[in-house]
């Protein structure tokens, strides 16, 4: 079934330039997208792919749901990274833990408990002060990059509606906070985020109306409102092209009532559902290809568009993560 991947890619994206050889050489990759398009799957697949190429990878999920670890058949992770498959470490972002770590590392506050009920205080400050939660998330991620604990940090990031706020947080804080420790910290964060050789953003979408529209809007907003460079768009769940034009003509001939009757007789049962299934597959593919074309037309020239095939899988776990990794590898020309 995974053998279909090449065909999905060739069918839909023959015209698109699908090589981004530098993707695995980045140090920090944010993976975003509208809810439900499979950004966690792509983040895990990218982690797996990088690990297979000898990298030491950290995959961090920001909206901690434990899904990343599950895609490696591993129990849910917390703030402390754990190796979930050879070469891939996984962690779940926890902004309060990030604050604790920050205080410990930078302020050398011996007993954090001394400043009162930290959880409550944190919740309060985070609600009150714009960007605190965001800066703690981005701060932790860039810090891992700065300290070179990993070759690549892949972030299963916030959904496309929130990612811009997150990525722009260091700049926003820089503008708001004129002095203080945070101010001095945001400078090096911005350095990492703004460096296209270190940091990139991958937008994941499916070939459907809303995800495509959101991706096009995101591309503009990322360019205008953040210092991060968009590295690629991944189109997930691309259905295989069932027929070429000639095959479709023949399919029509086979679907004629008299042919269908003969086929059913020869096969020893009614073939109608099988033919209907093919028609459904063709329609689904066609509806989606309109959106794929709109996406390709609307994105800036030269931005790689990587196509991932629809996975006809029983379940989602280590098996599909590998399939995604290999499909990504193929699209990247690795």
């Amino acid at each position: 079934m995974a053998g279909r991947s090449s065909r999905a890619g060739a069918g839909a994206g023959a015209a698109a330039v699908t090589t981004a050889p530098d993707l695995l050489d980045l140090r920090l990759v944010f993976v975003t997208g509208k809810g439900g398009v499979g950004k966690t799957t792509v983040a895990a697949g990218l982690g797996q792919l990088a690990a297979e190429h000898g990298k030491r990878v950290l995959v961090c999920e920001v909206d901690a749901k434990g899904d990343v670890a599950a895609l490696f058949e591993s129990p849910p992770t917390d703030f402390t990274p754990r190796e979930v498959t050879p070469g891939v470490w996984s962690m779940s972002m926890d902004t309060e833990a990030s604050l604790r770590e920050y205080l410990k590392l930078h302020l050398r506050i011996p007993v954090v408990g001394r400043i009162g009920p930290l959880a409550k205080a944190f919740d309060f400050v985070a609600t009150a002060a714009p960007g605190v939660r965001e800066i703690l998330t981005v701060g932790k991620l860039t810090w891992e990059v700065k300290e070179r604990h990993y070759d690549l940090v892949v972030v299963d990031a916030a959904a496309s509606g929130h990612i811009v706020g997150q990525l722009a947080a260091p700049q926003a804080i820089n503008d708001l906070v004129k002095v203080g420790l945070i101010r001095s910290q945001t400078d090096w964060m911005l350095d990492i985020l703004s460096d296209p050789h270190q940091t990139g953003l991958i937008a994941v979408c499916t070939p459907e109306e809303m995800p495509v529209s959101e991706t096009l809007e995101l591309a503009t907003r990322v360019r205008e409102e953040t210092t991060v460079r968009m590295s690629a768009v991944v189109v997930n769940r691309v259905l295989p092209e069932l027929f070429n034009q000639r095959e479709e003509e023949i399919f029509e001939q086979l679907s004629r009532p008299e042919s269908e009757r003969v086929l059913s007789e020869r096969a020893g049962g009614t073939v109608t559902p099988v033919l209907d299934g093919a028609r459904l597959a063709v329609t689904m593919r066609r509806t989606r290809s309109v959106h794929l074309q709109r996406l390709q037309a609307g994105l800036p020239k030269g931005l790689p568009v990587l196509l991932l095939p629809y996975l006809f899988a029983r379940s989602f776990g280590a098996r599909t993560t590998r399939q995604v990794a290999h499909a990504l590898g193929e699209e990247l020309g690795l």
Partner: protein
């Protein structure tokens, strides 16, 4: 023997809605929640009459355009009869729509609660306020519920269908009013404000300010404090309001519809959400499953047949078309595609079975050939969910 006085559970969405004032469509992102909400509202207007409002968050532009909603904002706009007529429908009632403009709603709220003009203007001009009201996710959640309360209280509609904003956590919007109330009544808020009112800081709280100052900078902290001192003047109004919103959500006239697809991640979120609604004693009216693959794809006989068609493709296709080679290849493709989709259809059926029994009503909507982008499409979808 005691007599059961509980009304029979509704068997269709039409029955469910006929007894409700408010329907809240919730669930994971990317499953057609907005479209489902719009379609349910359109059906209610056509079939049941009365004034129906759909309060939506972010409709697909093509759909909004087709409904004549270009550029609508917080104000409610009526969907004209023309729009229905183009879909050959003649509504008994009226369909209205409003988009949630978070920033505008916040400003309205401040105007309603500020004790005097000066405070009001100071708050509206505060950069921190502008940031919080326009950008923060939690503020969307809160304001959606706040708007619902506002509109419901005005009493202009028989039925209000709410499309909930996409959230990190599907439950955020339920907690938002309470969280807002907690926030304004928290000791921490007073704590943070006190030193900027009188610079007398007691010994116990001093370390907190020292840390806060070092992290955030004194000026920034002062800005925050000024903002909250202003906000505190509206404390009572906010808390009362939040409590009223919470009451409205648990009112028996309010029902929740969980919208999902049968993809693994959404379905897990939908399950969690259904359980959580029940645990909170909120009324889970129905679960609507979108994009469900047709049943014939998991027909065991057809599955076996497809296997043998794939193996005997050239033999089966012989003489039926002008090109036997292509015909054989086509039959192989067709069979393999059927088997592939069968795998997905069976996985989905299993997930659907797990959902059964949770809500009173489980509605499935088939995969549509095309995207829904006009009233005709909405009503076509509506007809699927309605009966």
């Amino acid at each position: 023997m005691t007599v059961q006085t509980q009304p029979a559970a509704p068997k269709t969405l039409a029955q469910l809605l006929s007894a409700k004032d408010i329907v809240i469509a919730c669930g994971p992102g990317g499953v057609g929640k907005t479209t489902t909400a719009a379609s349910v509202a359109a059906m209610a207007a056509v079939e049941q009459g009365g004034r129906v409002l759909v309060l939506t968050v972010d409709p697909a532009r093509r759909l909004a355009d087709a409904l004549g909603l270009k550029g609508i904002g917080n104000d409610e706009v009526r969907i004209t009869d023309d729009v229905f007529a183009r879909a050959a429908a003649h509504p008994r009632g009226e369909l209205w729509a409003a988009m949630l403009d978070t920033k505008q709603s916040w400003d309205d709220l401040i105007r309603a609660h500020a004790p005097d003009e000066e405070t009001r203007e100071q708050i509206l001009a505060n950069p921190l306020y502008q940031n919080i009201s326009a950008r923060f996710v939690q503020s969307h959640d809160y304001i959606a519920m706040e708007r619902l309360y506002e509109i419901h209280t005005e009493g202009k509609y028989d039925l209000i269908v709410v499309d909930t904003p996409p959230t990190r956590n599907a439950l955020d919007f339920l907690d938002a009013p309470q969280r807002m109330a907690d926030f304004f009544s928290s000791r921490l808020l007073r704590w943070l404000i006190v030193p900027y009112r009188s610079r007398l800081v007691n010994v116990a709280s001093r370390p907190f300010y020292q840390v806060a100052d070092r992290i955030l900078g004194t000026q920034f902290l002062a800005d925050i404090s000024e903002f909250f001192i202003l906000f505190q003047s509206m404390y009572k109004g906010f808390v009362e309001r939040a409590e009223a919103v919470t009451r409205l959500l648990s009112d028996r006239r309010t029902t929740f519809i969980v919208v999902s697809t049968l993809e693994p991640t959404p379905v897990r979120e939908a399950e969690f959400f259904s359980a959580e609604l029940t645990a909170r004693k909120l009324h889970l009216g129905a679960v609507v499953l979108n994009k469900v693959l047709p049943e014939y794809l998991r027909d065991a006989k057809a599955d076996k047949l497809a296997e043998s068609m794939k193996a005997r493709a050239s033999e089966l296709a012989e003489g039926l078309t002008e090109d036997p080679d292509v015909a054989a290849r086509v039959l192989e493709e067709v069979s393999e595609s059927f088997l592939n989709f069968g795998v997905v259809a069976r996985r989905e059926a299993e997930q659907q079975a797990e959902l059964k029994g949770t809500p009173d009503l489980l509605v499935t909507v088939p995969y549509f050939d095309a995207d829904i982008y006009d009233m005709g499409g909405l009503l076509q979808l509506g007809a699927q969910v309605w009966h």
